[in-house]
Symmetry: C2
Subunit: 482 residues, 2 copies
């Protein structure tokens, strides 16, 4: 039986709200394996929609999918010095296989640069073989001490793109292109605004030359790193001897990029749009965009109403709408409303005997507003418009929220007040020194999310570092983060 | 550069042919990790088409996708006695995580019954929660000593359905339904005929009450188990205490099924349709169903031909055909033909200046036959017909081949002659005794693939066991197998 107690409100305890929402909507569950989650059908359906959209975007930008082994020889990780330092402490290690101790332990992939570039070394000989543009959908494992459903789990699902190019410029262009793909996906599909930019060296991917990131602000005003794209330079190419003959006959190392997003995005979606009644799913990513709930008392009424509901369903499905008719018996309409609200279905259509007689349905939006009676005629045109409107409105609402939680040109005092107060993004000058960055992190738990891309920067570049007062070398976006 | 040496022929060395075909078509590669393969983009594209078709069929039969942890506590495997006996010897074991030795080692899932049913125990309380119809797309690991690309690898990709039902009859119906889904997929999509039926106890899934299988015959007349569906009875429900309150208020254990197919199907596809020129892909599963190769000498000709080719491409794509225009420069048409043949693209369209002038294209079928000149007009209707025809013809050809390699009502002598000779399926009487089955396997390496379903049985049921002469309890299908 569904739990009918109201969720803890976001205002009262955001973290409790998040966990209760996930349980109530049956999105995920804790597993008996430490740090590993189970993604339940309602949660997985969102991930599937995300996968479908992203996969098409990857293919449209020339990438192909492939699959590389789950296991990586331990010695491979060690070939790139920064990489092993970053990942070795959080690996799961297979020491026994087929009843015997292995000669060399195998690491369960925390990320696949090493195993993939060892294959590229075999496949790439000439500039004619370049670029190699491959993506993989896979599970990865990073041993986590403190886990949270979707946001930080020992095992998670993701995609990792791995490309090889003939020139540094092409690799840089690719890393930037995929950051743009992520931004487009997050804004247009997830209705989640982001700030894009470059990570500082201390937040860089272990082994990368440059890491770019999409950063988003959740409703509790904590930032979430939603997707990253790395220009790896020739670091891994050197470690794995991935060389190619150039057009002029020389031998050179290839230039690599890698980029990834994960099931963490489901958590981001929850914390961007969810409300005190539960999940709110942007229409483009909803498993069911419309749920139809029939209302009746007698068997006669039931037959009439269901027939009309089936007709509406067919018409919407014919227009490409993902629609579900909730014909469950022994459950009151109110209980159904409650359940579908909790699960975040964008639009609900209620049909009762009087609606059937009037050739109408009642439209209820998950995001609120008045109930509206619509004629059944023309519904297949109307509903997609409603969905588009909601999709746009969700992004605008989120943008306004982030804007309201953002301050610019902050002094140290304003920064502290904002970070320790309501929280959010702080745009401010940065001296570029790792010591300064580390000190701020230690004292305030805030980190530089990105050095923002030009379109996000303040009109007036800051002159001094908001913390130490030295000249600013770049504007930085600070926040406490997940 | 592409290797232009002819493949070893199937007749000369089937196994060498298989390996060379995979390398030439760049379907897969050996990885540096023992027993693990890399699925390259050309091979993965076939798996993606398979996934798409199967996933839709699963959803159409009411199933939802979910995701369960990669790791399974070692003690979980042990809870079902047959299950642990079957799988423990071939597991990979994680003993260290996050730099520390684990208190309880974790097994990398060889299959997920145990972890999944431990969750079902939590989710299922009442008959109202049933049936639970969940599928998972995942990687699994079974430590293999002798591996072959796609057919037998330490890690492989698969789907595993896991369902829970209120009654034994429903579980049996589900196990049979999914066997039927597999058969439909294999015949209608893979153009691969199968024999379905029940496995004997010695070939049953470890922990199942009954295992059903789709068995196919490869071109070397060895059988391949292509997909299995298990009625698990209450074995796992008892081991994991998956109970529910029945409608009458009693407490009962649920009835489970599980069913799976894997990337092994890509190997099955290769060995069913491939020829001495390389891969042959049934149109419904081809990444590219049509490749267009432009033919020209001068730059002027190139422009004209490419423009016409683009037009044809757009028209076909508009009709839902997966079409690729191979506009690579610096490569002769012949080299392109050779490459696309090796990769198994069903149809090739050649367009040269004279074709453009005549408003025509030249159609070449991967399965042979005369080149044919077609008018461009109406091509979007014609090509899908060609594909349907090829899809049907591939199944018919394969059926005839299997029929020719099958004998029925065999005596022991005929059985031995067939198995030791050209090989293939032998339908014959079976006494039902495990000792007899084991003796046959030991002496001939042939196994009972299935006790066939009624529609495959011989009109006259065999009276005696072909091996020992005791009365036959069931007709059996014997073969040497992969």
């Amino acid at each position: 039986m569904a739990d009918t107690k109201a969720l803890t409100t976001r205002a009262a305890d955001f973290s409790a709200w998040y966990n209760e929402l996930i349980a109530r909507a049956e999105l995920a569950d804790y597993s008996p394996v430490r740090g590993c989650m189970v993604i339940r059908p309602n949660g997985y359906a969102i991930w599937e929609q995300m996968q479908r959209a992203l996969d098409q975007m990857f293919k449209d930008t020339g990438h192909q999918n492939a699959y590389f082994p789950l296991f990586i020889p331990q010695s491979f990780l060690a070939r790139e010095a920064e990489h092993v330092e970053g990942f070795a402490p959080e690996t799961a290690v297979v020491t026994h296989g087929g009843g015997k101790e292995l000669e060399e332990p195998l690491v369960v992939r925390p990320t696949s640069e090493t195993i993939i570039y060892s294959m590229y070394a075999k496949w790439i000989q000439s500039y004619r073989d370049l670029p190699v543009l491959i993506n993989q959908w896979a599970n990865v494992v990073r041993w986590e001490m403190r886990t949270r459903l979707f946001l930080r789990t020992t095992e998670f699902l993701w995609q990792e793109g791995h490309t090889a190019h003939a020139t540094e410029a092409e690799a840089e262009e690719e890393a930037r292109r995929m950051l743009g793909v992520y931004r487009t996906f997050m804004e247009e599909w997830m209705a989640m605004p982001v700030v894009t930019g470059r990570k500082t060296d201390s937040e860089r991917f272990a082994g990368a030359v440059r890491t770019y990131s999409c950063e988003s602000l959740m409703q509790d005003n904590k930032a979430l790193q939603a997707g990253t794209s790395h220009n790896l330079g020739q670091n891994f190419a050197r470690a794995f001897e991935v060389t190619f003959q150039t057009a002029s006959g020389d031998l050179d190392h290839v230039w690599n990029t890698s980029w990834g997003v994960s099931t963490r995005l489901v958590g981001a979606l929850i914390m961007t749009h969810g409300d005190d009644a539960g999940l709110v799913t942007p229409p483009r990513l909803a498993q069911y965009q419309v749920v139809i709930v029939p209302i009746y008392r007698t068997d006669d009424e039931r037959a009439t109403v269901l027939e009309a509901a089936e007709r509406v369903k067919r018409e919407l499905a014919g227009a490409g709408v993902r629609v579900h008719l909730d014909a469950r018996t022994g459950m009151k309409p109110g209980a159904k409303y409650y359940e579908w609200e909790g699960r975040g279905v964008p639009l609900r259509l209620e049909i009762g005997p009087r609606d059937v007689a009037a050739g109408a349905v009642v439209l209820v939006r998950r995001t609120g507003g008045k109930k509206e009676t619509l004629p059944v005629e023309g519904i297949a045109a109307r509903i997609p418009q409603e969905m588009e409107r909601m999709q746009t409105a969700l992004l605008e609402t989120a943008r306004a929220r982030v804007e309201a939680a953002t301050i610019r040109g902050a002094t140290k005092e304003q920064f502290l007040q904002h970070i320790d107060g309501s929280g959010g993004f702080v745009y401010a000058g940065f001296c570029g020194r790792a010591e300064c960055e580390a000190e701020i992190k230690e004292q305030t738990k805030a980190t530089i999310r990105v050095l923002p891309d030009p379109e996000y920067r303040s009109p007036e570049p800051p002159a001094t570092c908001m913390w130490c007062g030295l000249p600013s070398v770049a504007e930085a976006v600070w926040a406490r983060a997940y």
